[in-house]
Symmetry: C2
Subunit: 418 residues, 2 copies
Amino acid sequence: MKIGLLIIGNEILDGKINDANTKQLSIFLNSLNLELFTTLTVRDEQQLIHLGLDSLFSQCDVVVTSGGLGPTKDDVTKESIASFLGRKVFFSNSSFEVAQKNYLRFNRPFPGQDHGYCFLPEGFTALENSTGFAPGLFTENSGKFLLCGPGVPKEFKSLLEDHFVNFIKNKFPPSSELIESITVRTKKVPEEKIFGEVDNTLWDKLAQFGSVSSLPTTMGVDIGVKIKASEKNELEEKKKKVLTIFSSSPIAQHIWQIGTLSIEEYIVKMANLKNKTYGFAESCTGGLCSHRITNISGCSQTFYGSVICYDESVKEGILGVNKSTLKNFGAVSLKTAEEMSLGLSKALNVDIAIAITGLAGPGGGSEEKPVGTFCLGITSMGKTSSQILQMHGDREQLKLRFSQGALFLLLEELERYS
Amino acid sequence: MKIGLLIIGNEILDGKINDANTKQLSIFLNSLNLELFTTLTVRDEQQLIHLGLDSLFSQCDVVVTSGGLGPTKDDVTKESIASFLGRKVFFSNSSFEVAQKNYLRFNRPFPGQDHGYCFLPEGFTALENSTGFAPGLFTENSGKFLLCGPGVPKEFKSLLEDHFVNFIKNKFPPSSELIESITVRTKKVPEEKIFGEVDNTLWDKLAQFGSVSSLPTTMGVDIGVKIKASEKNELEEKKKKVLTIFSSSPIAQHIWQIGTLSIEEYIVKMANLKNKTYGFAESCTGGLCSHRITNISGCSQTFYGSVICYDESVKEGILGVNKSTLKNFGAVSLKTAEEMSLGLSKALNVDIAIAITGLAGPGGGSEEKPVGTFCLGITSMGKTSSQILQMHGDREQLKLRFSQGALFLLLEELERYS
């Protein structure tokens, strides 16, 4: 079964926001052992929506649309779909009821029966929206299926979870083919080296058992192997062989996880398991390390807090960094990083204190310490140490890479604890 | 001139990452008075890339591709494009030189003349990549144009800026039509109310002068008006009329900016201009307020730092919140928020101290204080006050909305200073 996504929205093609619904639909489909075939983005214009629907219906069995269902005049999806299918739009009691329910959920009065949400093309079903106001839409068209969701990612997601899942299970019982994706996350080695000087036979070895992919990100390179099998034993056998290839390859030393947890999820899990408390003294990362950790529910069990010490007065005042250290060695120095982590470990009374100080740019660099230089300090098990590193990128990338360095250091330290 | 983007990458359709290149290309084109017509995403397979190219070339004058130019075996863009156009791939001295330069820039030795980067389809030009290794590609095809860039957003962007800009200016001299987009950012009012009970004639009034759009985000609703005119006076006249419509509408009280700066950019600019220092005591937002502010270059002039006080011991220890306050009123209370901001203003010695404490969930809510409840405290001009608010959403959305609340409070306070 081929599934295509039509994204309808000038806001995407005018660069106001990134599309987030392709990712959501893909993840959702993968969880049902299905794949997204293609995504097409068009502007909020009837003629272009027609072209998009035409193109996707010619290739796919199921077309999902996102966007253009709202109450404002640039929302033309419903009318465009109706005219594409040659169906009339009329007042629908069921749609009225669904829209009313959507409003009730937020304790908001429904505007009335002349509201656009009460009108539906012939043969369409209105779908409740558990996170917003605009109803979703569903219809069949010559044996193919059309599901329309709002563009707001949260609402699009709830439409998939509330309605699409049942539709898929009813109309398309799961295929007997088993699919499993193995993801291996590496650190501190570029993509080209992995499949070159580190292990130039790795790709071909893995490809015997599934389709291989490589995804370089700011955080490291993910190697994926998608395995297909007709029954469980075969799948397990293939999985085992793939894992053996990884563990016996020189790449093994760069692998920090077999799985798809983010580093912050991985840290929170491990810190909670080992019951080790931690915190950050963040200068150049400006709160990003703490923000990433606190995105993970359950972090409060061991994450105590942080000090964002952007100004030197905060480094001195709260963390007790010596004025002379800052003067003689500079804010970006091993000595300052060490005094920051030591000061933090006292101020917060945590098992592991991590300090980050560096130059995120664009200004502030020198020949000796160019933008991208950063120092990590760590105080743990009664000892304090530090290291100096260098990264490339713009301000946003550098903050992310600095924070990644700090999180990897924390992870390595957590691994040392029993 | 119609410009289409073909995104090539399983990583997008498998939900591993969001596409960021549509946004980059759109913003880039808008800066040249051009628009992106459509975006199509296909998998890394020769046949699907052919279908995608076919579809885009049938509609567009210029096709830009992103992705699949890297060194691994799932990168098949170059070969697929060559076979689509019926061109052979051969060793190219110019491509070899370009690739060598890309490596030199990062102080990395070039792998050698048999490397894939040295091979080019007939009639193609290899383009230097100032931020990565893979060369970009350019060619003409029956009077239409094809530009291929790497999928990594940073590299795609530099290709646009380094090469595409000249190409566009040479091949397509700017049209005489003038285009200007006015964006008005509102806060604390839902989209439906803006064009309903607040001002139900607003849309039609604006639409007399340009194409109107409305974009609801977690941060508020942006209203856009895209004005076109044949000469400067006409454009200025229309702009003036649009701004008058906004200023004389009841929506005016909800407008916090005419422009497209983010709230954090706006704050950094205003705080630096007024020379007022500030910081945050962040509990539930976990560093997000500070992270957002420190994304803005130049913030160090007035942003001193923050205390992320996730654990109660940090609220007591660094901020001096009373144990009895936490015990009697709870961590999420007006009293705690006030003691946090007061404590922070002392610890950091800043003009404006903002405190945020709340329940981001999913656990921890009660009937009296459900998930989504948060308190803001502020100490400024010798006074401390607080407020309690309620938001909807999941953990990630709540952190974002809480931080937005804190930033709006900071902005309003900065506006009070001369």
